[in-house]
């Protein structure tokens, strides 16, 4: 038997990092990889919308009016003669931006709250988690609506409002993980070395609970996008002439008897995106959670 050239190689071959192992499992999951591809492509075309879009998003052609899909307008035009494909590309920017940013806000709040609660333990933990239970009993969507009515349609506010609503489950998940991780020897070692609590949390605990957090993040993004679409459906999302998928669906639903494609195409794209993200999330859960991995 031939020895590897240096001892490091041998180590690398025997002990695979858990992240690489998870990635290997994810790649083998066809549904998850399809989801990943769809999400990547959608994100790419949305980001490059200004260069890809065949028309301007507010360019009207009133003589054309609503026309079915054709060579010039692949997905047809809306009542004002605006190109639907263009509006969907720009709408995708808003929908994905809200999805990512609002989820990021909920991540920040959820991780900070959950990790502090779990790390503190005892009475503090009990109190903080009871508060989360109480907050669960409040219909926050109503308050997001009140906020949007009161302060006007403001994208930044939309991120914060949605993020502030969606952090509860994240906090619970993180707290549960932290409770387990804080018993580990390396955390005790860090305590003995006299590191500050904030440093122990940030450097030693939070990175080790990221697996379930990543999974839940992938599942939060579609929920947030759905909420944004719902708010746009109420007329509280972005303002015309800007577009978002929710707004397009609402406008389409109003005229669907005569021009069904105006509702069907945005609806299909939104559903496909949610599909892709959910499959990706399921795949990530299977890949990152050893319990699921073993049962496969």
């Amino acid at each position: 038997m031939r020895e590897p050239k240096n001892p490091e190689d041998r180590g690398a071959a025997r002990v695979r990092s858990p992240w690489r192992e998870a990635w290997r499992r994810l790649v083998r999951n066809r549904a998850a990889m399809t989801g990943l591809t769809v999400v990547t492509v959608l994100a790419a075309v949305s980001i490059f919308a200004p260069w890809l879009a065949p028309y301007g998003y507010e360019t009207q052609d009133l003589e054309l009016g609503a026309s079915p899909p054709s060579g010039a307008h692949w997905l047809g035009t809306d009542v004002l003669g605006r190109d639907l494909l263009t509006r969907m590309l720009y709408g995708g920017r808003v929908s994905l931006l809200v999805g990512v940013c609002a989820t990021a806000v909920s991540l920040l709040i959820g991780i900070a709250y959950g990790a502090s609660s779990g790390y503190a333990g005892g009475r503090t933990d009990a109190f903080m988690m009871r508060s989360v239970d109480i907050l669960y009993a409040i219909p926050f969507t109503v308050f997001v609506i009140v906020l949007m009515v009161a302060f006007g349609q403001n994208l930044l506010l939309l991120f914060v409002a949605i993020g502030a609503v969606e952090w509860l489950t994240m906090a619970r998940i993180v707290r549960g993980q932290v409770l387990a991780v804080k018993q580990e020897l390396y955390v005790q070692a860090a305590v003995i070395q006299g590191l500050s609590h904030a440093r122990i949390l940030a450097v030693h605990i939070v990175p080790n609970v990221l697996g379930p957090v990543i999974v839940y993040t992938t599942l939060t993004i579609p929920r947030v996008m759905l909420l944004e679409a719902f708010l746009s459906f109420l007329g509280l999302g972005v303002q015309a002439p800007m577009s978002s998928w929710g707004l397009l669906i609402r406008d389409g639903a109003e005229v669907m008897e005569s021009f069904p494609w105006l509702m069907v195409f945005p609806g299909v794209v939104l559903a496909a995106t949610l599909f892709a993200l959910n499959f990706l999330g399921d795949g990530l859960r299977d890949a990152l959670d050893p319990r699921f991995a073993r049962s496969r």
Binding site: Y136, V142, A271
Partner: protein, 307 residues
């Protein structure tokens, strides 16, 4: 068991109080009063309206008065619908949403449980993939897409039912399916997951070995244990589904409570928002309580663990 139930009931009180308190102050934080949108009102009449509804008092006084009335079950007058109290509005709209919600829940349970059990019995075959793909579709298609699509297909194209309205029994069909499909999808996924965990258990094998019919094994032995996560999910879900959905009620022109939630928010009808939130929180608490009882019945271990 009784101690456990009393304990749970006592826990509900601070939850309700906190929910109402947070709602009270959040709504007050928003700029603009309920009467600022009415252009036709003069400054003097707005002043008098504020005086009449006690909106000029310090917030603390308003809060205490509200809690006091709430304890007597009085949710106060609506600011926007003159001559109607919040209690009357809830009494008029809740039965409609309740009926729709119950129908949707029945639909969700029948479809969801059947699909979940079917998928779990033949894991990783097409009989598993097909219902689960369908469930994913149910989760991913928002109700404001599904509703219009159903209307387009079954009301406008096929002409089998009315596109909107709430008069004949047939009118209930499309709204119930629209509202219930997402719940059906979640129930199907939960059922499949927990059935897969229960089915390999020893007691199932023992039951098979002693010749218990397969149908009885699934319904009485496996399903009873597999239902636990589904029941936990149903608690808050039931409260949500019977308080109505703005989208479904708008699409099908149904005079229910979901619409009121959003209209109250748009109108800044403080008392109506607060009343609805209080009512909703009460329902959440009630259904969580019911779920606790149901879980204790399903799983005797839970009775000991919590008391």
């Amino acid at each position: 068991m009784i101690r456990f139930l009393i304990h749970r009931l006592l826990q509900a009180v601070p939850v309700l109080l906190a929910a109402v308190t947070i709602a009270f102050f959040l709504v007050r934080l928003a700029p603009g009063g309920p009467f600022t949108q009415e252009r036709s009102y003069s400054a003097e009449s707005i002043q008098r309206l504020n005086e009449h509804y006690g909106l000029n008092d310090p917030v603390g006084v308003q809060y205490l008065r509200y809690i006091g009335n709430l304890l007597r079950g009085d949710l106060g007058p609506s600011f926007k619908y003159s001559n109607r109290t919040v209690n009357e509005i809830i009494a008029a709209t809740f039965p409609v949403s309740l009926e729709l919600g119950c129908l949707a829940l029945c639909f969700a349970l029948c479809i969801g449980l059947a699909a979940g059990i079917l998928a779990a019995l033949r894991p990783n075959t097409w009989q598993d993939y097909a219902p689960m793909a369908l469930a994913m579709t149910g989760i991913c298609i928002p109700s404001f897409v599904l509703g219009p699509l159903l209307v387009l297909l079954f009301a406008i194209q096929a002409g089998w039912v009315n596109a909107a309205g709430w008069d004949t029994p047939a009118d209930r069909l499309l709204p119930a399916i629209t509202l219930g499909s997402a719940y059906a999808a979640y129930i199907a996924r939960l059922t499949r997951g927990s059935m897969l965990e229960v089915l390999p258990a020893d007691y199932i094998r023992t039951a098979r070995a002693t010749g218990v019919p397969e149908g009885r094994i699934i319904t009485c032995y496996a399903l009873k244990n597999a239902l636990i996560p589904v029941v936990s999910f149903l608690g808050p879900a039931t409260a949500g589904i019977i308080t109505g959905s703005f989208v479904v009620e708008t699409i099908f022109h149904i005079p229910g409570m979901g619409k009121m939630f959003v209209q109250a928010a748009f109108n800044r009808d403080y008392s109506l928002i607060l009343g609805l939130v209080a009512f909703y929180s009460l329902l959440i608490v009630v259904f969580n309580f019911v779920v606790d009882i149901a879980l204790a019945w399903l799983d005797p271990r839970l009775r000991k663990a919590t008391s």
